[in-house]
Symmetry: C2
Subunit: 175 residues, 2 copies
DNA sequence: GGTGGAGTTGGACACCTGTCCAATTTAGAA
DNA sequence: TTCTAAATTGGACAGGTGTCCAACTCCACC
């Protein structure tokens, strides 16, 4: 059932993250919010990084929109815009996930791959049949870079969309 | 003098980082290696993140090579190759700096900008007079993305050079 | 109605981070 | 040589992380 302890903890984590940010969040506070002891929390949330990665994954797949547009450029842009807009809605989560995925915790290994693959899949779908591997890689790297720079505060998640539009154009011009 | 306590601490930090990795390094161990008390260490190294950012900055500027090549593509590649090769020499430092710059510590703010600007500067120089802003941005984002992915272990620093070669080609084709 | 195993709990543990400060050491100036 | 100001030190502190485990609760099933 969706009210299992594990689910309640994830939900509490989401709320706590929104409320205090990823730097301030502590597992013990999440436990408290979920009405559970911290020992129990650690039973389900192996680590803060794992929590963030899991929340981000759920957030990511929770409402994929089909890329629309006549040409590949438009479709790719709809992917980046869609992602950027969603991230802008949950900046705390976005800020949390980048460092989380950089962590060494073996328990995030799988999520790291899953999240990375999901981005690539979306770009591949948007590119359509003529998906050039080099173009795909360029898009994936540019998008990762945008995530990193936004995570560093060098750009806001709101700006991300516009910046990526022009980068997408550059990458796809002549390819 | 170059043997000041501050310098000795940075040097000890470099050694310790190489020896045990950024996850395991503790300021107190660095202090010990430098033959200094931990209170003194904290006087000079405001935080681990600051230490990593500072070490990275020094590493970055310590031997810049002039970008060579007849055309812009070749020059940009020489920049990415040079950086990738250097990072490959110090993977522990490279792995340390990405999360460090993502940290909130106000004391890394300045380094974050300085390091980012340095990358952009190198790309701009390589592009030469006809430096299109969008191209520059695409290169910077792709390079950041490569740093992030390498930091996550999705690629090695050695692979980075090759991967970026093809990405650079894609970005600059037709621009 | 009893009982066993899963789930949960409190609290100790080892260790880290950064901060703080009173006390001491060390040099360079007088 | 003596004095003073800066550098250094030891050690305590508050708070976090993640681990561990013996004890307790509860419910499904016999």
């Amino acid at each position: 059932m969706s009210n299992s302890t594990a689910e309640r903890l994830l939900e509490a984590g989401r709320e706590e993250l929104r409320a205090v940010g990823h730097q301030t969040l502590t597992i013990r506070m999440v436990a408290q919010r979920a009405g559970v002891s911290s020992a129990t929390a650690y039973t389900y949330l192996e680590s803060k990084n794992r929590l963030y990665a899991e929340l981000f994954w759920r957030f990511l797949v929770e409402d994929e929109q089909v890329a629309e547009g006549a040409d590949a450029v438009a479709r790719v842009r709809s992917v980046t815009r869609n992602l950027a807009n969603r991230l802008a809605e949950a900046p705390e989560l976005a800020a949390a996930v980048t460092p989380a995925l950089l962590g060494p915790d073996p328990e995030v290994d799988e999520l790291r791959l899953r999240i990375g693959s999901e981005f690539v899949r979306r770009f591949r779908d948007a590119l359509g049949a003529k998906a050039d591997v080099a173009v795909l890689e360029a898009l994936a790297l540019a998008f990762s870079g945008a995530l990193l720079q936004a995570g560093m505060g060098l750009m806001t998640y709101a700006e991300m969309a516009d910046r990526l539009d022009s980068v997408v154009a550059v990458i796809m011009k002549g390819n």
